[in-house]
């Protein structure tokens, strides 16, 4: 089993660095490459690569290879270890209630069809 506490620490450590946090925020806006990130931040390409590698190891970022380019984007599930479970439940119920609304609408249709 995954050690949730160790995983959580890795996520905290990865995001504790302000530059890495800025890189993560940029990736949360959409997929990008190390080259694009380097042009945006006042940091060398190897340093950016290093930051992305730390985020990847923490499970916060995933990659997609396309020819000789590697595109990076945020892996939302990576933030789960940090989630407040009460908030998690709120999000869960809101999602389910929107499904309930759809089911009630379908029920109207099914019963009119009878």
């Amino acid at each position: 089993m995954i050690d949730a506490a160790a995983n959580e620490n890795a996520v905290f450590r990865a995001l504790a660095d302000p530059t890495r946090r800025a890189v993560f925020e940029r990736l949360a806006e959409g997929e990008t490459t190390v080259g694009e990130l380097t042009s945006r931040f006042d940091v060398s390409q190897p340093a950016i690569s290093q930051h992305v590698a730390v985020l990847r190891r923490a499970g916060l970022v995933q990659e997609r290879r396309e020819g000789r380019y590697v595109h990076y984007r945020v892996k939302p599930a990576g933030l789960r270890p940090l989630m407040d479970w009460i908030e998690h439940y709120q999000a869960f119920w809101l999602d389910r209630l929107s499904r309930l609304k759809a089911v009630l609408e379908q029920l109207d249709g099914e019963e009119e069809g009878r």
Partner: protein
Amino acid sequence: MSPEGKADRHTLVVDYELPAAPEKVWRALTESDLLSRWLMPNDMRAEVGHAFTFRLEPAPDPGNGWDGVVHCEVLEVEPGRRLRYTWRSDSTEAATRLDTVVTWTLKALDDGGTRLRLEQSGFRPENGRAYAGVEAGWRGWLAQRLREVVEGL
């Protein structure tokens, strides 16, 4: 009620308006097949004392420590108005181990719809996170970011 008292217990409240009459919403809350279409597969029966389960499909990430099964027992049935059952989960992680009670309250609206209130009570402090050792600024950033990311899932 739990022996350690309720002072440190947290209740989650969600209000939701639905464009359907309370009778219809009640069916969606209590008929097993309808309930499984929006919540989770289950063997619910709206009878006080009936023990049943919800099973999350697909099962959750093993990192959560939770096996995806919710253990329930019906506590109160007031047709068309109120339904209450326990909502418990076993987990190897304290954060996802729950011993809560879910209460559904239905109220007819003037437009023919229903205001449905969900209350889930009995969350323990360890079900929430203190974000200990994290400076306030980035804790705020994290909370905000989490909300956005989770909403986009």
